[in-house]
C-alpha cells in the first residue's frame, strides 16, 4: 500500500480546488504546483524583491541569501559534492545546450564519436546531432529492444566514444535506464556522460555522485517548481574545463577593453539577472518533496503505474509501449487505441476533464522507430490516485464507443 495520503496532498494544490473534476495526467509535460511554492514566489515579490548578487542594501542581501540557499538545497537533494557543481539555467534544454556549446564545441573534434539513444527527447537529441554535423563527428545511436529498454548489445558503441548523452527515464516509454552501469561503461571507455534527468528527478531519489555522471540536467517545473528554472549539475573538474556560453554580467570577474576573465564556479555560467523568484519557488518545491520522501513518491507511483498497466491492458485494442514491470519504469505510459487517433482520444478525454498528451512528445526518432505517427501518453505524480486511472479507462472506453470500435 502507498503510505501517502493523496486526498490530503491534493488539498495543497489550488488547481484542484479551482478545477475539482480535473484529472491531470500530464505531469511528464509539467507538474502542478502546491500552494507552498506559489507562496514562496509571492513572498519574494511582496517582501524582498531585489536583484541578487548586486545590491548592498538589506532586501538585496536577503534575496541573494535565499537564492543561494536554494543552491545548497539542490546540492543536498541530488547529493552533489559542492554548490560549485550546481548551475541555475532556464530548463533542461538550456542545461544540455550549455554542455553542447561549452564542453562539446571545445572537446569534440572531427571523427570523434558521440553516443545517444533512440529514446532521447529532442532536447537531448538535436544538440548532439547538430554538434556532430558541425564538427564532422560521428553520432551513434543505442537502439531499444521489444520491451522498450536499451539494447544491451548496442552498448558496444560506447567504446571509443568521447561523450555518452543518455536519458535517465524515457518521456514516452517510461523506461528507467541503468545510468550507473552506463556511466561505468562510458568512463571505462574514456567518455564523459551527460544524463538527462528531466523525467527522473521528480519521481525518485537521485544521487548524482553515486551515478558518477559528469553532467546531470533537469528542470524545476516538472518537480512542482515554477517554470523558468532548470539545473545543470556538473563535476567540478569538468565544469572547470567547460567554457561559458552566455556572456554578460555576473559571469565575469574582470572586463577590460581587450579581454575578460570569467567569474568562478558556478557563476561563470550564470550570465544576466537570474530567475530569482523561480529559484526560490524551486527551493520550496524541494522542501515539499523532501517532506513527502522521494522513496515514498517512487513507491506510490509504482503502485499507480502497475494498476494502470493492468486496467489498460484489460481494454480490448489498447497497445501499451515500454516495460511491463513497474520496477523497470516510471509513471509514464504511452499507448494507442486501435481505430482512435491519439489526438481524437485526447479530445474526447478532455470532455471528461481528463488531461493527457497526444502526439510525438518531442521524441520523433523514437516514434519513427516504433513506426507510430503519434501516441497518447498518461503520466502520474503525487496527486494522482487509482480513481484517476479509472476515469482514464472510462474515457478510453467512451472514445471506442464514439468511434464504434470493439
Amino acid at each position: 500500500m502507498s503510505n501517502m495520503n493523496i486526498d490530503k496532498i491534493k488539498e495543497d494544490f489550488p488547481i484542484f480546488k479551482n478545477n475539482p473534476t480535473l484529472v491531470y495526467l500530464d505531469s511528464a509535460a509539467t507538474s502542478q504546483r502546491p500552494q507552498q511554492v506559489i507562496d514562496a514566489v509571492n513572498e519574494f515579490y511582496t517582501n524582498y524583491n531585489a536583484n541578487v548578487h548586486r545590491g548592498i542594501y538589506k532586501i538585496s542581501e536577503e534575496a541573494s541569501e535565499k537564492f543561494e540557499n536554494v543552491r545548497t538545497k539542490v546540492r543536498d537533494f541530488i547529493s552533489a559534492k559542492s554548490e560549485q557543481e550546481i548551475i541555475f539555467t532556464k530548463n533542461t534544454t538550456e542545461s544540455i545546450n550549455l554542455v553542447m556549446r561549452g564542453w562539446g564545441e571545445k572537446n569534440i573534434k572531427k571523427g570523434d564519436k558521440i553516443v545517444i539513444s533512440i529514446m532521447e527527447h529532442h532536447s537531448n537529441f538535436v544538440p548532439w546531432q547538430q554538434l556532430a554535423k558541425q564538427k564532422g563527428a560521428k553520432l551513434e545511436i543505442i537502439d531499444i529492444n521489444e520491451e522498450g529498454e536499451l539494447k544491451e548489445s548496442d552498448f558496444e558503441k560506447i567504446k571509443g566514444a568521447k561523450l555518452l548523452a543518455i536519458t535517465h527515464v524515457s518521456n514516452v516509454l517510461g523506461t528507467l535506464n541503468n545510468v550507473n552501469k552506463l556511466c561505468k561503461l562510458a568512463h571505462d571507455a574514456g567518455a564523459k556522460v551527460l544524463v538527462d534527468g528531466a523525467q527522473s528527478i521528480p519521481h525518485m531519489q537521485i544521487d548524482a555522485s553515486a551515478i558518477d555522471c559528469d553532467f546531470f540536467a533537469f528542470s524545476g517545473h516538472k518537480m512542482l517548481g515554477p517554470t523558468g528554472v532548470g539545473i545543470l549539475y556538473g563535476k567540478e573538474q569538468v565544469l572547470e574545463e567547460t567554457d561559458p556560453f552566455l556572456y554578460g554580467g555576473d559571469m565575469i570577474s574582470e572586463v577590460h577593453v581587450e579581454e575578460s576573465k570569467w567569474n568562478e564556479l558556478p557563476f561563470k555560467f550564470e550570465s544576466g539577472t537570474p530567475p530569482a523568484s523561480s529559484v526560490i519557488g524551486l527551493g520550496a518545491a524541494i522542501d515539499y518533496l523532501g517532506k513527502l520522501g522521494m522513496e515514498n513518491i517512487r513507491k506510490h507511483e509504482q503502485i499507480i503505474t502497475q494498476y494502470a498497466l493492468q486496467k489498460m491492458t484489460e481494454i480490448n485494442g489498447v497497445n501499451i509501449f515500454g516495460p511491463k514491470n513497474p520496477e523497470k519504469r516510471a509513471g509514464v505510459i504511452a499507448f494507442t487505441v486501435n481505430g482512435v487517433h491519439p489526438h481524437d482520444l485526447a479530445s474526447i478525454l478532455d470532455e471528461y476533464n481528463v488531461a493527457i498528451r497526444s502526439g510525438h512528445h518531442c521524441a520523433m526518432p523514437l516514434h519513427e522507430r516504433l513506426a507510430l505517427p503519434a501516441s497518447s501518453r498518461a503520466s502520474f505524480y503525487i496527486y494522482n490516485d487509482k480513481k484517476d486511472v479509472d476515469k482514464l479507462c472510462d474515457g478510453i472506453k467512451e472514445a471506442k464507443k464514439i468511434f464504434k470500435v470493439d
Binding site: 487517433h341 491519439p342 489526438h343 481524437d344 479530445s347 474526447i348 478532455d350 470532455e351 497526444s358 502526439g359 510525438h360 516514434h367 505517427p373 503519434a374 464514439i402 468511434f403 464504434k404
Partner: protein
C-alpha cells in the same frame, strides 16, 4: 464539445474517406504536416482547359478531424477555378465540418491542415 465534433458524417469520412488516393502528373501538388500531432495531408489536383479543377485526390494520416476535412475540402473544390480556390477561407472549412472550433485552437489546426495544403499547392 467532443460529441459535437464527432458527428456521424465526420466519423464516416474518417473510416471511408472520399477522393483518397495518389495521382500521377498532377497540376497542383503539395503536402503538409502538423508537427504537434503528426497529422499529414498531401493533395493532388488536375486542372482542365478552363483552369478549373477536374480531378482531385488526397492521401494522409491523422486524426478524424484532419482526415474528414480533407475529404470534404477535396469534394468541395471540384469544378472551381484557381481564383475561387485562392479565395477559400477558414470559415468555408468550418461550415463543411459543421462545428465551431473557435475555442479549440489545437483542433482548429487539424481542421485547417488540408486548406493549408491546398493554398500551398496554388502558390507553388
Amino acid at each position: 464539445m467532443s460529441s459535437e465534433i464527432y458527428q456521424e458524417f465526420i466519423l464516416e469520412l474518417y473510416k471511408n474517406p472520399i477522393n483518397f488516393g495518389k495521382m500521377e502528373n498532377a497540376d497542383l501538388h503539395a503536402e503538409s504536416f502538423n508537427p504537434l500531432c503528426g497529422d499529414k495531408v498531401e493533395i493532388f489536383v488536375k486542372l482542365n482547359g478552363e483552369k478549373k479543377v477536374s480531378e482531385v485526390k488526397f492521401i494522409g494520416s491523422g486524426c478524424a478531424i484532419s482526415q474528414a476535412s480533407a475529404s470534404l475540402l477535396t469534394e468541395e473544390i471540384k469544378g472551381k477555378t484557381l481564383d475561387e480556390l485562392a479565395k477559400m477561407q477558414k470559415e468555408d472549412i468550418l461550415q463543411m465540418i459543421k462545428v465551431d472550433l473557435s475555442k479549440n485552437p489545437s483542433r482548429l489546426k487539424c481542421a485547417l491542415l488540408s486548406l493549408e495544403v491546398l493554398k500551398k499547392s496554388i502558390s507553388k
